[in-house]
Every structure is written in structure tokens, then in C-alpha cells.
């Protein structure tokens, strides 16, 4: 606790320092092109968003995983099974399945499980990673109850560029990390290639306090390997015709370690996936037509030699989308369209081939003046299972006082469809499940002052009532079966403070994000569960606090992050819990600048204070460990620029 306070006080000092110069980063893309070519999520989601640009992360944290990026830069809870193990997001008191991850507008949540594994997603694969807090189903569809993570590239500029960034890193426990990002563009074509490789033996030492003698032991059977490639192409056919296409291939192999309470694990999991998409944008005088489609194919192999389990799962996900955006004058935008999605899977636990098919129609209407913006979003989804209810949302943003204080309010209805496992898994699967249905509302205040510079402060309060909450529960016959068993009330507060300070050769950037989320069961439809009414849901921390501080002087950079995760209950009657913990990471970086090949070398210390902690009960986590690497940028000549050598 003391360490946490110390770090916060340190950050507070910087956050309130006087004599400041504001240096807000501005994107060179004009607002107009974002309005025209930007995604629906960017334009209409509304609410509070945290934009995490991977390239602006210090070299030491560049192109890692989405789980790492989010856990050290936001106050959402990442439920991780350990380094390299699966990691899922929980935001605003929801479970992982209530948080959608969108890649170029397509949900990459597994249709079978309903959730996305963030430990497998490289954070450098897209230019921008935006965390939209709160529910936004009317805009983003299924599973957008707690938050939406949007992975997308910035609107292409079609200016000549040729840059390749290489990262190579090695550290404790056989940690090996490599990434190559290459961006090439001319007036008509833009290409972005991301190659990534991560591997670790993960054989760290830990104290096994679940054993009688509390021995220090080496983590066993926890190695992992993850590599892949993401390729994006953007073509400008002419001023009014744009075509884009991309593919993302990935392979992950991991040993699944046993709990501390058990002996060595013996199971391995291999996942491979190929995700492809293509899109076409046609610009008219006052409107834009956007047609796109995607096909995802995923394989999963689970092998346990010791117990002779061998399972193979294959699933497909197809998407089709047509969207029409109309600009009526300078103030009105109307955006309407239709989205089709079909998920199919064929495995023995489904006793053959099963599918989930949805078609959604949507309409977004936005009215915007210089200081005010009102947005109405409507969506109705139809499916081959029980249909979700009609989802509307209304959001209002406005400036309250002299561009210093603005506010934001949003209310709407969100939904989350049952996963294919919920529907079809044998035994238990329940094809008559209804989608989870949530009414949510939120209000935010944003304090921002550029001259003189003060910290940017955001405070949000939210409330969400979820009905038809799906839970697997043993039935009187003993078989686990999912049912729409609960009503859940999630409420809370989020606050963030961001501050940057630039003086001569010094630069400070600091941020604090904190969240309080109370998520409790208000009603159950199974009397044996009544004891859980009014109790916090399991594995949802009530308190989260994340702080970061970057100090640079000339070519030196020190970056410190600390995240505090509050207590989490492990039993639904709150009879057992895990202790809170602080996790700090530190990196030191030195860059060598030259025009052709700027490079930086870095050294980082993860888990700086060697905290012994558990994210999930009895899953060992590594103590302090170190890593060092190099990042090189190659600025290669482009055709339009003459470089004198």
C-alpha cells in the first residue's frame, strides 16, 4: 500500500506542476476525411474512450500483447492465467463475454466461447487501439455491454512513405520477443505488414505456499510460442473509390501449466487462425457507400497425453456488411446499413455441425454543432436463435463552460448473444437461451484547459441493469446447464487524470486511471442461488488503479507504470477472496537519433517490487524479471524524395 501511495504522490506532483506548456498531439488527417472514411465505431460509439497508440508506447512496451497494453494503461481488469496464458478483459463489472474486440469492424470474439483472448493479439498490429468504455450495442452490436476494444488503422493518407521498424528483445525465463512493422505507401497504395514472434520457457521460481513445506519451486510446463503476420492493403482507385483488403495469420502453441495445488500439467493447446477481410468505399457528392466482408477460420487442438484427451475444434465466421453514410448539410449525418454474420462449428461436443446466424439493421443519426453533438443510434438484430430486443441509444455531448468543462451523457440498451457453447454444448447446451439484455446510462464530466495547461480530468458515473444474465448451473439432474438465471446491477465510477509537461530538454507525461465497479446479483431464478443476492460477482475487482509516468531528458527515457488490482471474490457467495496487489514495471531507454536509422536500446524490469500475487487463485505469477532489447527504425528512400547519400 505504501508503495502505491508513493507512486501516486510522485505522479500527483507532476500532474499539478506549474509553468506548463501544452503540447497536444494533433493528427495530420483532417476531420473531414475521418467523417467520410472513418469507421462507424469511431464516429458513433460515443462515451469515454481511451486511445492507446502502440507506436507511442516506449520501445520497451512496443508491439507486445493487447492484454499487456491494457493492463498497464487502463483501469480495466485483465483476468490472466499467467504469462502466455489466456487473458480476458472485464470492464464495468461485466464478464469477458460482454466485451467485444473488433478488428476492422469485425468481432474477433470466439463465437464458441463468446470471448476474445487478448494474450494472443499483438498490440502493434493496428495503428490505433481504442478502448470504448461502457455499452454500445446499438453501434457495435453483440457483446458490447462492458466495453469495446477497437483495432483499426488510421485513415490512409496516401503520401509516400517507406519505414520499417524492427524490435528484438531477450529476457529472463527464455523470453524472446521480435517484431517487424513495415509501412510502405505511394499516392495510390498503402501497405502495412506486421510480423511478430514471442516465445518463453516461463520457468520462473515461485514459493508454492499450497505445499506443506512452502518450497520454492520452478514453474513447470508453461512454455509458449506465438507468431504471426498481419497484412493490410489500402488502394485509392481514384478520389472517390477506395479498396482495402487484409489478412491476419497466427499460430500459438502453449503448455498449460497445472495449478499450484496440483502436480505438473500435461496438456498442450495449439491455436491457429486465418482472418481475412476486404472492403470497398464509394464516395458520392454527399454520401459514402461502404461494402465489406470477412472470413475467419480458426483451429484449436487440445492434447493431454497423460490422460489421453485429444480434441480438435474448427470454426468459421463469415461477415458481410453494407453501410450508407449521408451528410445533410454540415450538421447532420445519417448512417444506415445491414450486417450479416454466420458462425459455424462442427465438433463432437455439438454432435455435428451447428451454426449461429444473425442479421442486423442499424441507423445512426447525428446532429453536430461547434459545441454540441447529439447522436441517436438504433439497431435491431435478427437471429436463428432467440432475437435480441430492439436496441436504441441516445448520447449528448456538449461544452458546459468556455471549452474548459464539457459533459457527456449516454443511455441505451445493449445485448450479448449466448455463445455457441451456451447453445449447443452437450451435455447442458440450451438452444432456447435468450440474449442478455442491459439498460445502461452514464454521465461524464471532462475538464480540459490548454492555456494555461492543467491536467485533463475525466470523471464518469455509470449504471447498468442486466437481465437474462446467463449462468451455467447444475440442474436437478446434475448436468450443468446454462440458463438466463440472474439479474445483475453494475454501477461505478471511473476517473482519469492525464498530464504532460514539456520544458527545454525535459518531458513528463503522466496518467492516472481509476475505477470503482460494484456488480451484484439483484435477482436469481434458482432458489439455491439466493444467498448470492447482493454479492459482488466473482473475479470482478471493486477497485482498480493504474498510474503511469514517463520522464525523458534529451535521448533518455524512464517509464514507470503501476497497476493496483483490488480484492476479487472467488466464490459467488463472497465466502472466499484473493488479496489485492500492486504491480509496477520500469523501463529505461536511450535513443540514438540519425535521419536514416534512428535506434533505441532499452532495459526493463517487470514486477519491479518482486510482488508475490495471484490474478487467478493458485495460478503462479513470475516475480521480478528483466529484459533488454533494441528498436531500430529504417527510413528508406521513397520514389518522390531524393535522398543525398
Amino acid at each position: 500500500m505504501k508503495k502505491l501511495l508513493l507512486i501516486n504522490i510522485l505522479l500527483l506532483l507532476f500532474a499539478t506542476a506549474r509553468e506548463t506548456i501544452f503540447a497536444q498531439s494533433t493528427d495530420t488527417v483532417s476531420l473531414k476525411s475521418v467523417e467520410v472514411l472513418g469507421s462507424r465505431a469511431t464516429l458513433f460509439t460515443g462515451g469515454i474512450a481511451t486511445i492507446l497508440t502502440d507506436s507511442s508506447q516506449p520501445a520497451a512496451f512496443h508491439n507486445r500483447t493487447l492484454s499487456e497494453l491494457l493492463s498497464s494503461n487502463s483501469a480495466v481488469f485483465i483476468k490472466s492465467y499467467g504469462t502466455g496464458g489466456s487473458a480476458t478483459i472485464s470492464s464495468r463489472g461485466t464478464e469477458a463475454r460482454h466485451n467485444a474486440v473488433l478488428w476492422n469492424g469485425f468481432s474477433i470474439n470466439s463465437a464458441t466461447l463468446g470471448l476474445a483472448d487478448l494474450s494472443m493479439i499483438p498490440s502493434g498490429m493496428s495503428d490505433n487501439i481504442t478502448l470504448y468504455h461502457g455499452g454500445s450495442s446499438p453501434v457495435n452490436g453483440n457483446a458490447s455491454l462492458g466495453s469495446v476494444v477497437v483495432l483499426e488503422n488510421t485513415v490512409p493518407r496516401f503520401t509516400p512513405a517507406n519505414k520499417t521498424t524492427l524490435i528484438a528483445e531477450g529476457g529472463s525465463f527464455g523470453n524472446t520477443h521480435g517484431a517487424i512493422t513495415s509501412v510502405w505507401s505511394n499516392m495510390l497504395l498503402q501497405s502495412k505488414t506486421v510480423l511478430f514472434y514471442d516465445a518463453a520457457k516461463n520457468d520462473f521460481n515461485y514459493v508454492n505456499f499450497t505445499h506443506r513445506d512452502k518450497p520454492t519451486v520452478k514453474q513447470q510446463h508453461a512454455a509458449y510460442l506465438n507468431y504471426g503476420v498481419v497484412q493490410d492493403f489500402q488502394f485509392k482507385i481514384n478520389e472517390n473509390n477506395f479498396f482495402s483488403a487484409g489478412a491476419w495469420f497466427q499460430f500459438t502453441e502453449r503448455e498449460l501449466p497445472a495449478l499450484m495445488t496440483s502436480s505438473t500439467g500435461a496438456a498442450n493447446q495449439r491455436d491457429s487462425s486465418l482472418r481475412t477481410y476486404a472492403g470497398y468505399k464509394l464516395l458520392f457528392k454527399k454520401s459514402v457507400l461502404n461494402i465489406k466482408g470477412a472470413w475467419f477460420r480458426e483451429f484449436q487442438y487440445y492434447d493431454d497425453e497423460k490422460h489421453n484427451f485429444h480434441n480438435r475444434y474448427v470454426f468459421n465466421n463469415y461477415f458481410g456488411e453494407a453501410e450508407w453514410r449521408y451528410f445533410a448539410g454540415s450538421k447532420w449525418v445519417i448512417n444506415s446499413g445491414v450486417i450479416f454474420n454466420k458462425s459455424t462449428a462442427s465438433f463432437k461436443e455439438y454432435s455435428g455441425r451447428q451454426h449461429r446466424r444473425t442479421t442486423a439493421v442499424f441507423s445512426d443519426i447525428r446532429y453536430k454543432t461547434l459545441l454540441w453533438q447529439v447522436s441517436l443510434n438504433l439497431r435491431q438484430e435478427f437471429s436463428n436463435i432467440s432475437n435480441p430486443t430492439f436496441s436504441p441509444s441516445l448520447s449528448i455531448e456538449g461544452v458546459l463552460y468556455k471549452k474548459i468543462l464539457s459533459f457527456l451523457a449516454r443511455a441505451g440498451r445493449n445485448y450479448s448473444l449466448p455463445s455457441m457453447n451456451d447453445l449447443y454444448w452437450i451435455p447442458g447446451g440450451n438452444p432456447s437461451l435468450k440474449p442478455e439484455d442491459a439498460w445502461s446510462g452514464e454521465v461524464s464530466l471532462i475538464f480540459f484547459n490548454a492555456q494555461p495547461k492543467f491536467p485533463t480530468l475525466t470523471v464518469t458515473m455509470y449504471n447498468s441493469f442486466v437481465d437474462n444474465w446467463i449462468k451455467w448451473q447444475p440442474e436437478p439432474a446434475g448436468v450443468y446447464e446454462p440458463n438466463n438465471l440472474r439479474k445483475v446491477h453494475a454501477r461505478g465510477m471511473e476517473a482519469s487524470v492525464n498530464y504532460s509537461y514539456h520544458h527545454k530538454h525535459w518531458k513528463f507525461i503522466s496518467g492516472i486511471q481509476c475505477a470503482w465497479s460494484r456488480s451484484e446479483i439483484t435477482k436469481t431464478f434458482n432458489s439455491s442461488e439466493n444467498v448470492t443476492i447482493g454479492k459482488q460477482l466473482i473475479y470482478i475487482p471493486e477497485y482498480m488503479l493504474s498510474t503511469s509516468l514517463s520522464v525523458s531528458w534529451k535521448t533518455f527515457l524512464v517509464h514507470l507504470t503501476n497497476s493496483y488490482t483490488g480484492e476479487r471474490y472467488t466464490a459467488s457467495d463472497n465466502s472466499s477472496k484473493l488479496e489485492s496487489f500492486n504491480l509496477a514495471n520500469l523501463s529505461l531507454e536511450k535513443s540514438f537519433n540519425n535521419t536514416f536509422m534512428p535506434l533505441s536500446i532499452y532495459f526493463k524490469v517487470m514486477n519491479l517490487f518482486d510482488t508475490a500475487y495471484q490474478v487467478l487463485a493458485y495460478r503462479p505469477m513470475p516475480g521480478r524479471w528483466v529484459s533488454a532489447g533494441i528498436k531500430i527504425d529504417f527510413h528508406l528512400p521513397t520514389k518522390n524524395k531524393k535522398i543525398k547519400l
Binding site: 500500500m1 502505491l4 501511495l5 501516486n8 500527483l12 500532474a15 499539478t16 505456499f209 499450497t210 505445499h211 506443506r212 512452502k214 495449478l259 499450484m260 495445488t261 496440483s262 502436480s263 497423460k306 454432435s351 474548459i404 452437450i426 451435455p427 475538464f447 484547459n449 494555461p452 492543467f454 491536467p455 480530468l457 470523471v459 448451473q473 447444475p474 436437478p476 439432474a477 446434475g478 448436468v479 465510477m493 476517473a495 487524470v497 492516472i512 481509476c514 470503482w516 439455491s528 442461488e529 444467498v531 448470492t532 471493486e542 477497485y543 488503479l545 493496483y564 483490488g566 480484492e567 472467488t570 466464490a571 459467488s572 457467495d573 465466502s575 472466499s576 489485492s580 487463485a617 493458485y618
Partner: protein, 360 residues
């Protein structure tokens, strides 16, 4: 304005920090002191598979006070993942912790840890015979032999598929093979002198529990099968059965087949060993309490206690019926007690997923 804004931001910032820090009370953990007596009942709570949260509860029957989590409270480390059963033998208790692949040995009076024996794949049940111990190792398809002086594994005896429970009768050990993830229908008979299998008896599908009655005859309860997909109630469902066997010449004296989709479990016998009790349900794990007289030994599907339990015990002293109730595997379970006539006496909260009882 400048000052005001700064103050406002500072105040809000401090407020936020106070909010976060003040609510994280570093309060000391208070563990309820455990008083173990010689007249009490241990409750084995297996916990949720893969969560490492099994525990032991102890009921002091003189004052009816239930103490939960006694193993961890006394020993300072958690019991492990899926405690399957507990056996008292020569002032010691042996706890079979299935998914932690170990046997915990504790003092039978103080419950303080003596040793952890590892080297198993899925221990289900311990039986002590003098200075030797026998452990049914479900995943290994064998019975491990232990030297109880050194608490080490000295040998293993291959048996059928998924040995679940063992019972000593005379100079023999009868091991029911529940079938693992598949099916088996045998009882392995081990000679305690040579530690070798001397006979393999054919009974019904998936024998899961065994008791010995007043006449020394063995009763073997077979769960049947809910089919390879575990759904039950379908064409591949095989009903359970109850068998009575002579332990000397292995004659089958009774073979009683249950009704369609009936899957019994957890066979128990009363103090006078003339009344059998078991759980009858359709999933193979839970069921309502059925009571049956060993003589004449006729099946009935009418529940003696009409509530679905996951574990069952009959108090050897009072004759009370103990039912272990599991409302879910992420919340604490309950013990319901019934008098010898089947009337409900009381109920108490225990750990997660209680599956059985040991009467001291």
C-alpha cells in the same frame, strides 16, 4: 479562474485517490479458532474442479458448532484441488486429494499436518490395514501400496478401470472399478498377504461404492451409465444396479436392477449394518436418499428423504442421516441433518461442494 481550476482539479484528484485508497482496508484476517473433539463429524468439501478450493469442515456434535476450512486454518496451507475422501486409521486421518495427486496425512486428534504423500495420478480413497495403506488411484488404474511407517509408496497393484473405493473383508481388499471416463463392471479382489489380485468379479456397469453388512456379505452399488455423452435419459443409458456378494466364494446372492434412467451413488450402511442407504438420481452424481433393509433386500425408488444430495452419511452413533447439498460449485454448500425417521433436524453451511462425511 486559474486558481479555481487548479483547486478543482486537485480536489477531484485527491478525492479519487482517497476513494481508491481508503476503501482498501488492510484489515487483519480473523480465523475462527477450531476446537476439535473426539465426538464430531468431518465434512469433505471437494471444491470446484481446477480451482484448488477443497476444504474440510468439522461439526462438534456436543454443541452443534460447525467450523469451516479447518485444514487450512490449522496447517497454514490449503488442502488442494478436489478432496475426494478421508479415512481415519490408527489416530491419523488420510485425505485423498484427487486433482492435487496426493494424500495428506494429519493427526487424527489435532488435525495438524504430518506429511504429504505424492506420486499418485488421481487418488480417490485410502484404506489402512495395520502398517500398510492402500490407495485407489483412479487415473493410474491401480491400487498403490503404502508403508505407513515411512509414508512412502512401496508398490502398485494393477486393477480395473478407474478404481474408486476399496473395502477390507477378512484378508481381502475389494476394489470397485467405476470405469474412469469409460465403463467397467468389475470388482478386483486383492489378497492382503501377497498384495496381488486373486479374483476379478463381474458386477453391473460402473460399480461406485461398497459396504459390508451384519452377515459379512458385501453390497456393491453400480451407477450404470448415462452414455458416452453423459446426457442420460437417452437410448444409450444403462440403469444402475445393486449386488450382494459372498466375500468367501464370490457367489452372487442378489442382483437388483434399478428402473430406467436410475443412477445410484454413495452406498452407506447404518451402525447395526442392517439398513442400506444410497442416493438415487438420474445423473450418476446426485440423488434423493433411498433406505433399504439388508434383509429381505428389496429395491424401492421411493425416497426416504426427498432432497437431492451430492454426498450422504449415516452417523454411526446417533443414526442421523447427513445429506450434503451443493447449490453450485462457486458457492458454499450445506449439510442437512435428518433424524432416523427421516424428519429434517437442521442445516449448516459448509465449504464448496461437500461430497461426504467421516464420523469420529
Amino acid at each position: 479562474m486559474k486558481k479555481l481550476s487548479l483547486n478543482l482539479s486537485l480536489t477531484l484528484l485527491l478525492f479519487t485517490m482517497v476513494l481508491v485508497t481508503s476503501c482498501d482496508k488492510d484489515e487483519p484476517e480473523s480465523d475462527t479458532p477450531v476446537v476439535l473433539t473426539t465426538t464430531g463429524v468431518y465434512v469433505i468439501n471437494e471444491g470446484s474442479f481446477g480451482s484448488g478450493n477443497s476444504s474440510i469442515s468439522f461439526l462438534n456434535v456436543t454443541n452443534n458448532i460447525m467450523s469451516n476450512n479447518v485444514f487450512e486454518t490449522i496447517n497454514g496451507f490449503p488442502l488442494g484441488d478436489v478432496a475426494q475422501s478421508m479415512t481415519l486409521h490408527k489416530e491419523k486421518a488420510y485425505l485423498a486429494v484427487n486433482n492435487s495427486q496426493k494424500i495428506e496425512v494429519v493427526n487424527g486428534t489435532t488435525f495438524s499436518s504430518i506429511q504429504t504423500i505424492s506420486g499418485f495420478q488421481g487418488p480417490r480413497h485410502f484404506v489402512g490395514v495395520g502398517t500398510k495403506g492402500y490407495v485407489c488411484d483412479w487415473f493410474a488404474d491401480d491400487v498403490k501400496v503404502l508403508d505407513l511407517n515411512t509414508n512412502t509408496i512401496t508398490g502398485s497393484i494393477p486393477v480395473g478401470s478407474g478404481p474408486e473405493m476399496a473395502l477390507v473383508s477378512g484378508t481381502k481388499l475389494f476394489v470397485v472399478n467405476v470405469g474412469g471416463f469409460g465403463m467397467d463392471s468389475t470388482v478386483s479382489v486383492i489378497d492382503l498377504g501377497t498384495d496381488a489380485v486373486i479374483a476379478t468379479l463381474q458386477v453391473g456397469i460402473n460399480p461406485n461404492s461398497i459396504v459390508s453388512d451384519a452377515s459379512g456379505k458385501l453390497w456393491i452399488l453400480c451407477g450404470g451409465s448415462t452414455g458416452p455423452d453423459y446426457t442420460g435419459g437417452t437410448a444409450d443409458d444403462i440403469a444402475g444396479s445393486l449386488w450382494k456378494i459372498n466375500p468367501f466364494n464370490y457367489d452372487i446372492e442378489k442382483q437388483l436392477t434399478m428402473g430406467q434412467f436410475h443412477h445410484p451413488a454413495k452406498l452407506q450402511i447404518n451402525k447395526n449394518t442392517n439398513e442400506l442407504f444410497y442416493l438415487l438420481g438420474s445423473d450418476g452424481y446426485t440423488g434423493k436418499v433411498i433406505k433399504m433393509a439388508a434383509v429381505p433386500g428389496q429395491l424401492s425408488a421411493t425416497p426416504f428423504v426427498n432432497k437431492n444430495f451430492y454426498g450422504l452419511g449415516i452417523d454411526k452413533n446417533s443414526g442421523m442421516i447427513y445429506g450434503a447439498y451443493v447449490p453450485g460449485f462457486t458457492q458454499n454448500g450445506f449439510v442437512f441433518r435428518y433424524g432416523t425417521g427421516g424428519g429434517l433436524l437442521d442445516s449448516m453451511e459448509v465449504g464448496i461442494a461437500p461430497n461426504g462425511f467421516v464420523f469420529q
